[in-house]
Amino acid sequence: MHPAKSVIFFTTTTGAGYGLLFWLAVLAHRGLVGPDFGFGLLAFGIAFTLVVGGLLSSTLHLGRPERAWRALSQWRSSWLSREGIAALLTFIPTVLFACFWLFWHNNSGYVAWLGLFGGVMSLLTVYTTSMIYASLKAIPAWSVGWTVPGFLVLSLMSGAVLASALAAVGGYGAAALWLVLPTLFFLAFGLVVKLSYWSKIDRSVSSSAETATGLGEFGKVRLIESPHDQPNYLIKEMGFVIARKHRTKLRRMVVIFAFGLPFLGISIGWFAPDIVVFLTLAALGFCAVGVAMERWLFFAEAKHVVTLYYDT
C-alpha cells in the first residue's frame, strides 16, 4: 500500500497523544503529580497538540476535506465513522479533566476518575483506528489478529515514554521513577507484539493469481499484458514495492529505534538520576523515529490482493 504521510502522521501522533492522556490520568490518580498549572499546561498542551494535529492531518488526504463532517454518519457499518465519533466523544472527559487540573487545581478523587474514564475513551479511539485497518480483508497483512494489539500497545508505549520524559523534565522524580517499570514493560510488550505480527504476516498464505483469476485449474497464471502501459490509480495506490524489497533491514531498524534504544535509555535513567532528563528525552527522540518507521512499514509492506492481477 502507498504510505500516505498524512495517515502515518495521524496514526502515530494520535496514538502517542491518547497514550499520554491515559498515563497523565494514572499519575494523577496515584497522587504522583499534583494539579501543577505549569506542568499541566505543558503535558496537556503536548497531548492535545498531538491528538488534534493528528486528527486534522487525517483530513488532509481526503479528496474533499470540506465534507469531512459527513464521515460521522455511518457508525452502524463503518469503522472510520466510528473512529470519528469516538475521537469527538473522547474530547468531553479529557478536556474536562484538563480544565479541572489547570483552572480549578484539582486532579484527585472523582476528577482523577474522570481522567481515567478519558484515558479509557482514548484507548477506545485507538482501537477504532486499528479496526479500520484490521477489518480490510483485501489487505491480508492488516486483517490479522496482531494488528489491533499493535496499535494499542504502541499507543500506550509511546505515551509512556512521552510521560516519562515530561515527568523527568518537570522535576517529578517520584512520578518518573514510578513510570520506569510500566514504560519498560510496554517497550518489551511492543517488541513482542511487532515480532509476532511480522512472523504472522510472513507465514500467512492468502489469495493467489490463480484464485484471483479463477484459472488455477488450468495451470500456473502469469500476466503477459497489463491493461495499460502506464501505472493506473490501483498501481499507484496499492502497488508499493520499495518496502517489501527492504523489509528485513527496515524491520531491524524499527526494533532498534522504537524498542531497543528507548529501553536502554529508560533503564539507564533508572540508575542515573543526574542525567535522567537527557536520557528520557533521547529515548523519546528514538522512540518517535522508530514508531514513525514502524507505521510507515505497516502501510508500505502490506500487499493488496488487487496486485495479483498486476504481477507486482
Binding site: H61, R67, L80, I132, L136, A138, G214, G219
Partner: protein, 250 residues
C-alpha cells in the same frame, strides 16, 4: 446508508464474461469510457491524455494472462476483462463513512453518490478486485454503474438497454441479465458452463460470473488437409513455360 440492503429484492443484475470467446480487443473498455464520460458518473477525468504519462479513470480493464499447465508445459492465453462485480456482500459499501457508497435494494447495483463522497479512498482499499477509481480532479471516488442510465432508458430501443460493454462486444463474450433468477438466460449459461466468481475466499459474494475457457484439444492429430497438393513439376504448365523450363534447365 452504507449498510447493505436489509430486504434485497432478489434481483441481481450482473455480467457474465466468457473467457473462451474474449479476444482481448479492449472494445468494452473503450465503449464503457465513451458512455460513462457523459453518463451518471461523468466526467471520467483524464490527466495528461496526450502527455508523457497519460492517466485517467476507467471502469473496465482487460488483462491478458498466460496459463501454463505444469505437467505438459502447454500454455494458453486468456484475455480477462475486469470491472465491478456488484458483490452481494460488498465491502466497499460497508466501509464508507459518509453513506456515499450504496447497494440498490431493487437490483443490487453498487453505486457512489459523488455529491457526498469525501474521497477518503477507503472503499478502494476494501475492494479486492480494484473496481474503485479515484478521480483526482474531482476528489471523489467513481465506479462502474452497470450503465444504470442506459439499461433503464426507455428512450432507447429495447435491444440497446444493456451495459455499453455488452452492446459493443464484437465477439459476444459478454452477457447481461438477472443472476438472481435461476431461470434467466444468464443463469442458465452460468449453469451450463460452470461459471464462477472471483476470489471466493474474500467472502464478498460477487454477482458477476466468468465462464472458463473450454478444454483445449491436446494430442498429435493434425487438422485435415483441405487444399489440393500443388504440383510443382513442369508437367502441368503451358507450352511456353515448358519450353522456358527446358532451355533453362539445360
Amino acid at each position: 446508508m452504507t449498510c447493505l440492503p436489509k430486504n434485497p429484492s432478489g434481483k441481481k443484475l450482473g455480467l457474465v464474461i466468457d473467457l473462451d470467446i474474449c479476444v482481448g480487443c479492449h472494445a468494452c473498455a473503450v465503449s464503457c469510457k465513451e458512455w460513462n464520460a457523459s453518463g451518471q458518473m461523468a466526467p471520467l477525468t483524464d490527466l495528461q491524455p496526450y502527455g508523457a504519462k497519460p492517466d485517467g479513470v476507467w471502469f473496465n480493464r482487460i488483462h491478458t494472462f498466460e496459463v501454463v499447465e505444469p505437467q505438459t508445459g502447454a500454455s494458453r492465453t486468456v484475455h480477462f476483462p475486469k470491472s465491478c462485480l456488484h458483490c452481494d456482500d460488498a465491502p466497499c459499501v460497508t466501509v464508507c463513512p459518509t453513506g456515499a457508497s450504496y447497494k440498490r435494494e431493487e437490483d443490487g447495483i453498487v453505486l457512489v453518490n459523488t455529491d457526498i463522497c469525501i474521497g477518503c479512498k477507503l472503499c478502494s482499499w476494501a475492494c479486492p478486485y480494484g473496481a474503485r477509481e479515484y478521480d483526482e480532479d474531482e476528489g471523489v471516488m467513481k465506479k462502474c454503474t452497470m450503465c444504470v442510465d442506459k439499461i433503464y432508458n426507455e428512450n432507447l430501443p429495447e435491444e440497446s438497454r444493456v451495459p455499453a460493454c455488452v452492446s459493443t462486444c464484437p465477439t459476444g463474450a459478454r452477457s447481461f441479465g438477472d443472476l438472481g433468477d435461476p431461470n434467466s438466460e444468464v443463469s442458465k449459461l452460468v449453469a451450463a458452463r460452470n461459471g464462477y466468481g472471483l476470489m471466493p475466499e474474500q467472502g464478498t459474494k460477487p454477482v458477476n460470473r466468468y465462464l472458463p475457457p473450454r478444454p483445449k484439444k491436446l494430442g498429435n492429430e493434425l487438422a485435415p488437409r483441405l487444399l489440393e497438393h500443388v504440383d510443382d513439376s513442369a508437367n502441368g504448365a503451358g507450352v511456353l513455360a515448358r519450353w522456358v523450363d527446358k532451355i533453362l534447365s539445360a
